[in-house]
Point group: D2
Chain length 249, copies 4
Amino acid sequence: MLIGRDQKSSVIRLEPGAQFHTHRGTIAHDDLIGLQWGTQVSTHLGYPLILLRPSTDDIVRNLERSTQIIYPKDAGYILMKLSIAPGCRVVEAGTGSGGLTLVLANAVQPTGRVISYDIQSDRQELARNNLEEVGLSSFVTFKNRDIADGIEECGVNALFLDVPNPWDYLVQAHSALGGGGFFGSILPTANQVISLIAALETADFGRIEVEELMLRPYQTVSARLRPRDRLTPHTGYLVFARRLIPSGG
Amino acid sequence: MLIGRDQKSSVIRLEPGAQFHTHRGTIAHDDLIGLQWGTQVSTHLGYPLILLRPSTDDIVRNLERSTQIIYPKDAGYILMKLSIAPGCRVVEAGTGSGGLTLVLANAVQPTGRVISYDIQSDRQELARNNLEEVGLSSFVTFKNRDIADGIEECGVNALFLDVPNPWDYLVQAHSALGGGGFFGSILPTANQVISLIAALETADFGRIEVEELMLRPYQTVSARLRPRDRLTPHTGYLVFARRLIPSGG
Amino acid sequence: MLIGRDQKSSVIRLEPGAQFHTHRGTIAHDDLIGLQWGTQVSTHLGYPLILLRPSTDDIVRNLERSTQIIYPKDAGYILMKLSIAPGCRVVEAGTGSGGLTLVLANAVQPTGRVISYDIQSDRQELARNNLEEVGLSSFVTFKNRDIADGIEECGVNALFLDVPNPWDYLVQAHSALGGGGFFGSILPTANQVISLIAALETADFGRIEVEELMLRPYQTVSARLRPRDRLTPHTGYLVFARRLIPSGG
Amino acid sequence: MLIGRDQKSSVIRLEPGAQFHTHRGTIAHDDLIGLQWGTQVSTHLGYPLILLRPSTDDIVRNLERSTQIIYPKDAGYILMKLSIAPGCRVVEAGTGSGGLTLVLANAVQPTGRVISYDIQSDRQELARNNLEEVGLSSFVTFKNRDIADGIEECGVNALFLDVPNPWDYLVQAHSALGGGGFFGSILPTANQVISLIAALETADFGRIEVEELMLRPYQTVSARLRPRDRLTPHTGYLVFARRLIPSGG
C-alpha cells in the first residue's frame, strides 16, 4: 500500500487498528481500509495524502534491502534486451535483495519461472520475504548454492549475473542457456566491464553490447521546468551477449 | 529471424529457396532452416554470420515504421512506471508504428489486453502487420477512432498517450482509468512538457513525474573501452501521473 | 592557500601564529609558511596534508557566496563562446558572488576590463572582497546600478547576463555591444530559455545557440574506475547569440 | 572571417576580387570588405548571410586538422583546472592540429608562453600555420622533439599531455613542472585512464581527478525547445593532478 504526497511516499501494509505517522500528523489505517485507490485523505493536522497502489517502480525502490538493488531504469531495459516475456525460464545470480527477481517474476508469470541463486542464505531469505509481500514468490525457485558448483538448469531463455566477477562463471552460463540464449550482467566499474568483455570474446558468446542508462528526473512545476538537483547515481554498466553454438560443434 | 555479425544485424524471415544478400556475400535460406539458434555460418565469400532469434529490443528497432518509434530504453521503463504485468488492460493512443504496442502486448499476455487507438488507418494497418509478424496481434484491439470522441473502455490499469497534445485528452483519460490508474506520455519538446504538467496540475491527477533516459552505448573491444561516437538521439521526455478520485467526490 | 588531502580540501590564508584545524588533527600556519607548493606535511595526529596553490576551479568553488555561482565547467566554456582574451572589455550583470567576474577578470587582464553591474550593494561588496582576495579587483569596475536604466558602456566585446529575466534587457545589451558582439546568458529553467530565445529572435541578434554541459566526475582508484555517486547538479542552460546590425540600418 | 546563417557557418579570409560560393548563391568578397561585423548581406540569389568575427569556439572547430582536436568544451575547462592566465608558462605535448595550443596561447598572452612538443614535423607545421592565421604564433615555441628524450623547460606552471601513453612521461612531466604545478591529460578510453591513474598514484603526484564533460546542444526554436538529435560525440576523459614535492625530499 502506498500513501504519497507530492514526491514523498511510503509503502505500508494496512492493518486494522494501526496508525500511520508522518511528521505532519497521523491517520488511522481504519480510515483508509475500504477506500478506492486514488482517494485523497488528510492527517489529523489536515495534511493531504493520496492512497495509491504502488507501481513496480515504487515497490522496487522501497524494497527492504541488504545490498545495492538493480534500479527500475535498468531492470526495464534488461527485460527488453533479454526478451523476457510470460512463459520464459530465467536464471539469475545472485538474488541480492530481490529487486530484479521481483521484476523478472512479474514479467514471466503465470507460466514462466525465475530460478535465483545466492550463496548467502540470510540475504536470500530477505528477498523471499520481499517477493512474498507482493505475491510473486510462487514464480521463483530460490537456490542457496554457489553457481561455481554449476547451474542445475539447462536450456533456459535468459541468464543474468549480478555478481562482482561474472567472467568466472561463463562456462556455467553457457551450459545453462539454450541456443542463442540471452546473457546479461550489471557491473559498477569500468575495470570489471573490461574483464567481462575480454572473457566473453574468448568464450562462445557473440553480439556483445555494453550500455549505460542515465536517468534524469525533472522538477514538476510547470512554470519552472528544470532538471532536479538530486540526480540518480551511477548504478552500473549493462553488458549483454548471446550464447553461440561452438563453431567447431 | 535475425542474422547478426558484430554490431550489424538484419531481421529476416526464412523462406525456402530464398537468398540472403550482404555486401560480403550471400547465403541460402535453405542452409539456415533447421539450424539451432546461435549457430555460426558463413556467406559464400567466407564472411561469418550468427543465426539468432531477435530480442524484443532488436524487433522494436527493426520495425517497419511510418512514424518515430518509442525506443526500448523508454518502453522498458514505461513498463516499470505503469506497473504493466500479465493480465493488465492497457489503453494507448496513437498506435504509431506499433513499437510500444508490441512491448505492451508482450507484457500483458496471455490474459491481458492492449487497446490501441489511432486516427490514421494506414498507419494502424502497418502496426497490425508488425504485431502479426511476431505473433502478438491477438492480444491487441486496434481502434481506428479519435480519442477526442471518447475512450470506450473504463477501469483500465494504465493509459499511455503518444500524441502531440496529450493535455487535450485528460478528461477522456481520467474516465478510462480505474482508481489510482497509471497515466503516461512521451513528448519531444520542453514546451509540450510544460503544457502537460500545467494541465495535469488542474485535472484530478497526482504524483506527477517527468524523467528522461539517456542511453550511452560503448564500444565493446576489451582493450579500448570507450563510449561510442554514434550516440542515441534524444527520444523524448517521459511524463507519468496517477489518476485521483476528485476530492469533492 | 589550499591544503588538500585526497578529495577534501580547504582554501585558507596563512597567518603567523594561527592554527589550521581538521577533524584529524591541527597544524600551525607557521609550519607551512615558507614551504614550497606541493610539499606534503602532517597534522599533530599524523594525518597527511598537501600544501597547494588553489586552481581557478578551486577558488571559484570555494568562494564565499550569497547566491548560486556559475561553475567552472560553464565559466570555461563561456570564455570559448564569448571569445574572451587578454585586452577584452566585457560587461556582466548581475555580479552575484563574483564567480564569473573572477574568471573573466583573470582572462582579460592585464589590459582588458570587466564592468560588473548589480542592484544589490551588499552582494556586490562580497564579490569585490572575493576579487580582492585573489588580486584581481583592479581589473573590474563594479557598478551598483540597475541595467534597466541603461548600460553606460558601448562597443564592448562581450556581455553576459546572469539575471532571471534577460529578455527584458536586450535593448540595453544591443546598445552596449559592438558590431558582431558576443551575448551570453545562463538560465536554470526551460521556461526561461524559451522566453529568451523568443525575444532574441525578434531583436537584432543572430546565431542563437542553446547548450548544456553535464560534468561527470569519476572515482580515482585505478582498480575501480567508475562514475562517482555524487553527481554535479544541474547548473543551467547556456544561451549564446551575436549582435547584428539592424538590416534596415 | 566568418559568414554564418542559422547554424551553418564558414570561416573565410577576405581577399579582394575573390568570390564566396554557397549552395544558395555567391557573394563577392569586395562587397564584404569594409563592412561592420554583424552586418546582414545577401547572395546573388537573395539568401541572407551574416558577417561575423569567429569566436574562439568557431575557430577551434574550423581548424584545418590532421588529428582529432580537443574541443572547446574541454579546452575551456582545462583552462580552469590548470589555472591558465596571462603570463603563465605552459608545456603541451603533442601539438596535434593546434586546437589546444591556440586556446592556451590566447589565454597566456601577451606575457606568457606555450611550449608545444610534437614528434611529427608535418603535423606541427599545420598547427603553426593555424596559429599564424589567427595571429597567435608569436606566443608559442614549437619543438619538433620527443618528450621521451626530456622536456627542456623547468618550473612551468602547467603541463598537458595529449598523447596515447601519458603514463610513460611522468618523470619528464614532474621535472618540468614547478612545485604544486598543474598536470592534465585527455584520453579516449577507460583503459588508458586506469593506466594513467595507476602511474600517477605511484609517482609524486596528488589530488588526482578524472572528469568527463558531456555537451548537449538544443534546437533553438522557441516554440519547440528540445535537445538536438545530432549529439556531440565522446571526446575523452579528462585527468588532472598536481605535482608534489617527494615526501622524502
